[in-house]
């Protein structure tokens, strides 16, 4: 280990001897404060640089340098201008553009990033820059394999001097360690260990590319949860929901576990015999999350708890077993979110505004794939992500789809919680497309109805000439004709009712003319009905199958005719009486006989009609 480090240092010193001193030397760093946070698996380096331009040219970019062994693990780098002084300092939120450059004369073991300033730095001016660098997988477990009872020890290598292409006047380094034992650390002249803080410096007046390696060996039992792959699927439904499904493939990225695992030991003293393992994960979901579930490949894992307030929903999940170094687990969590919190409309376009990374605390993700599933019928899709990602589009088939839903796939390697920023997916959507799903359901049901109509209408018999088939057809015809007769008779009866009603009106108003007119129309319609009745009756008489039912039909026709005559007679009598202006009693006496007969006939006809109807 140390040999390697020495070698590195050696190469470094050789390289540093013939350094660039051309363009960058106009700038000097008057003060550098570095804070390195080693309390979790993710290493965050916050550097405050006070830059001063001593040359005469205006400088518009500042170079930052990182050694090779750090750059390989660099997950996130932002530089922000720090304006104002003292406690009232405000970082101007928006990060400055940062890109890799390859200036001449720089040692090959260093990677240079260039920060472009919004406005050039004139002669004698100074500014303060905050640089946040986040590294994942940079803490190396040492020893690399531990048993269940061992604690996890980690190695961290850094330079006590800030490696910079500029000369540094004053600098200091503070390393924040977890509240645990520090096995060893490189002791230099100005090194102090206060509680869990290790301080190096201050060092003064160092030339460019000064380097002094330090190594810290310390205990850290924080969960080293590393997602080898996380697939987040965000599905938008315009019916009021954003469904998020996250498939985790998790591994403990710390020191590998060796030897056997004793559940008994672990159960008895979990914090001693299993200090390096983690047993639960905390996910911070957005507020108003509903229908939260947590399962792995073989079903539900019940050990999870959920609570929430107006600002967040907190989900604590426990895998089936404690995760030791190198152990893996795969699970899925899913939740629904209200649409109106995440979907917005602007200038005829819609956009989804949702956070990119995983909701789980302090999780390192090697490959993060975010899939945004848009509703069917979305057009002009574009995504805007605040950091570089690989983008592609695919199609997904889900409930009630024909053409499939467009999916925007965003892929990011080495994601850390700092990537949990909001991103936007813009698309155009016609509201009428929302009716696709109900229309599909409707057409499905309608097809069912049409199928049954076709079935009922289709003639499915095989032999069309057999006796039973012909008999069936004839019987059906007879049935239809009987129904026709029944129909005509009932129409006759309603016409009779009309006549009766006109008599009733007459007794109230005494309008003889109106009554006569009704009589005329009734007469003509009855005549027509009698004509209509002729052909079905003729058919029934000719059909042998109708032999049984024919007498009843004939009887009802005869009775109906009888009733008709009686009614006409009654009507004539009444109208006569009115014209002669006879008294009410007189009319009643004359009509009484008709009345009885009519009532009796009507009853009989109704009975027979019911009988026919049943056939």
């Amino acid at each position: 280990m140390m040999t390697r480090l020495n070698l590195f240092l050696f190469t470094f010193t050789i390289l540093s001897s013939h350094l660039l001193s051309a363009s960058a030397s106009d700038l000097i760093l008057t003060k550098v404060d570095r804070r390195i946070d080693l309390s979790s698996q993710i290493v965050r380096t916050t550097t405050t640089l006070k830059v001063e331009n001593t040359g005469s040219d205006i400088v518009s970019e500042i170079l930052l340098s990182f050694p090779e062994n750090h750059v390989n693990h660099l997950a996130h780098l932002t530089a922000t201008l720090n304006e104002g002084r003292g406690k009232a300092k405000t970082s101007s939120g928006v990060g400055l553009p940062v890109e890799v450059v390859h200036p001449k004369g720089v040692p090959p073991k260093l990677t240079i990033y260039s920060v472009t300033l919004p406005k050039g730095l004139g002669k004698g001016d100074s500014l303060t820059l905050d640089v946040l660098a986040v590294f994942s997988h940079i803490l190396k477990p040492f020893p690399e394999k531990i048993t269940q009872a061992d604690i996890q020890l980690l190695l961290f290598q850094e330079s006590a001097y800030y490696i910079s292409p500029y000369a540094v006047k004053v600098q200091s380094l503070t390393v924040k360690l977890p509240d645990a034992r520090v096995e060893s650390y490189t002791k230099l002249e100005d090194t102090k260990l206060q509680g869990s803080e290790l301080k190096y410096g201050a060092y003064e007046n160092l030339p460019p590319f000064s380097y002094l390696p330090i190594v810290i060996h310390f205990e850290n039992n924080q969960p080293f949860a590393v997602a080898k792959e996380l697939v987040r699927e965000i599905e938008i439904s315009h019916w009021g929901n954003v469904q998020i499904t996250e498939h985790y493939n998790l591994v403990h990225g710390g020191a590998q576990s060796k030897g056997e695992f004793s559940r008994l030991d672990y159960q008895a003293r979990p914090y001693v015999r299993g200090a390096s393992a983690f047993r639960r994960l905390v996910a911070k979901l957005p507020p108003r999350a509903h229908s939260v579930y947590y399962r792995d490949e073989i079903g539900n894992i019940s050990t999870s708890s959920l609570w929430g307030d107006s600002k967040k929903t907190e989900l604590v999940i426990e895998p089936r077993y404690p995760i030791f170094g190198g152990w893996k687990t795969a699970f899925t969590i899913g939740y629904g979110l209200p649409l109106k919190d995440f979907l917005f409309g602007l200038d005829g376009k819609r956009f989804l505004n949702i956070s990119f990374g995983s909701p789980i605390n302090e999780l390192v993700i090697d490959t993060l794939i975010v899939k945004v599933v848009l509703p069917e019928g979305s057009k002009d899709i574009s995504a805007s992500v605040p950091f570089p990602v690989k983008q592609r589009q695919e199609t997904k088939f889900s409930h009630l789809d024909i053409a499939g839903r467009p999916v925007v796939v965003l892929e990011k390697n080495d994601a850390v919680p700092e990537h949990n920023e909001h991103f936007q997916v813009y698309y155009k959507f016609n509201c009428l497309s929302m009716l696709r799903e109900p229309l599909m359901l409707i057409s499905g049901f309608f097809f069912l109805f049409v199928a049954s109509i076709v079935y009922m209408h289709a003639d499915l018999s095989i032999s069309k000439s057999s006796a039973s088939y012909l008999a069936k057809i004839q019987w059906e015809e007879v049935q239809a004709t009987v129904r026709q007769v029944h129909n005509i008779i009932s129409r006759c009866l309603t016409t009779h009712d009309k006549l009766e009603a006109s008599l009733h009106d007459l007794s109230r108003t005494g309008d003889v003319q109106a009554c006569k007119a009704t009589r005329k129309s009734v007469d003509s319609s009855l005549k027509e009905l009698t004509k209509e009745l002729k052909s079905p009756v003729a058919f029934l008489q000719s059909s042998p199958q109708a032999a049984q039912i024919l007498p009843k039909v004939e009887e009802v026709i005869v009775k109906e005719r009888d009733l008709q005559e009686k009614l006409m007679a009654k009507h004539s009598t009444v109208v006569d009486c009115y014209e002669k202006k006879l008294g009410g009693r007189e009319i009643e006496n004359r009509v009484a006989l008709h009345h009885q007969k009519i009532a009796a006939l009507r009853l009989e006809i109704d009975d027979i009609m019911d009988l026919i109807d049943e056939i």
Partner: protein
Amino acid sequence: MAPKAIASPIPDSLYPTLSIINLAIGLILTASFFIYEATSSRKTRSLAQELTTGAVASVFLGFGSLFLLLASGVYV
């Protein structure tokens, strides 16, 4: 112009009620359709009436089942 939030056209809380109402009407119409099919003979049946009852019933059943899916958490 500030972006404005987009919500669903019908509030989520109405889905169960709408589902029950639509499905009830739809099922009643379906029942009347099949009663008509079973009681009328080939000669007396009217295609127009069959198709109308079927179409109206399928509209109600379609929307009813959509709201049933939405109410049970299957956001289509």
